[in-house]
Subunit: 109 residues, 3 copies
């Protein structure tokens, strides 16, 4: 009844793949809501050089109990071999909203 | 003296309502700083269909002690019946900045 | 081997300073990946008045063990006297990605 809620972050290479993944996660009840943020520049090291790439961040609201299935679904659809998938715990929130997240991520009977 | 600091996330339907809420929260000392992010697309399920809506995310810096009053103020001004309000804990930070958050969110005498 | 991973947030006054700081943090192995987000509006109180300023948020992926050095590097390069530097804990994540963060932030031998 009071499953912890998580805020999960991943990054897609463009808006089309970001929206497609967001819709898939909602459709599969692996997330209650996904925010597709404005495009960002990601900076990282690759084969010794500093690289910059445009990416579209997703902020995904789900529960801890659905995290493993969510992670598997992101991996299955994400175009990168090793995508960023990190989650931070929600420790406070509007009770009605948190309940809505739990309800929306309950698998269909 | 060392009240925990929170990062609170909510989403408004447009930039005007986002800026109005941000200014109100600062004015009322319910937050020390609010970042009004670039518009995002929010994807969710509504009455069985997958919906997409433009929303403007707010990142709000406050303390755990002010959370309940902050939540009440967001609910009172937010145009949605059930707005997203979720908070994640700040576990590390620049001490001077964290102190500034605590000072700025102390109610006026 | 399983050092906690952090998501660190700071804000720069413009895209040039944001990209310069991001590249510096990667170069120094103080972060594995930095997302330079689209420009945001920051709202805060300054000398009694409500101010709004454009800022560019950075989302920095690092480990708890590198946090102190990261904070020092941000302070040394950041144009503000008291920059926002706050971090939230990563409690779930793709194991391979978290390992990559740990490897990328290991100081050069």
């Amino acid at each position: 009844m009071t499953a912890p809620v998580l805020l999960v972050l991943t990054n897609l290479p463009d808006a089309d793949s970001a929206h497609a993944l967001a819709a898939h996660l909602i459709e599969a009840r692996l997330a209650a809501c996904v925010n597709v943020l404005a495009p960002a520049s990601s900076v990282y090291r690759w084969e010794g050089a500093i690289e910059t790439a445009t990416e579209v961040p997703l902020l995904i609201k789900t529960t801890a109990g659905r995290y493993d299935a969510l992670e598997a679904a992101i991996r299955a659809q994400h175009p990168y071999e090793l995508p960023e998938i990190v989650a931070v715990p929600v420790t406070h929130g509007l009770p009605g909203y948190l309940d809505w997240v739990r309800t929306e991520t309950t698998p269909d009977a």
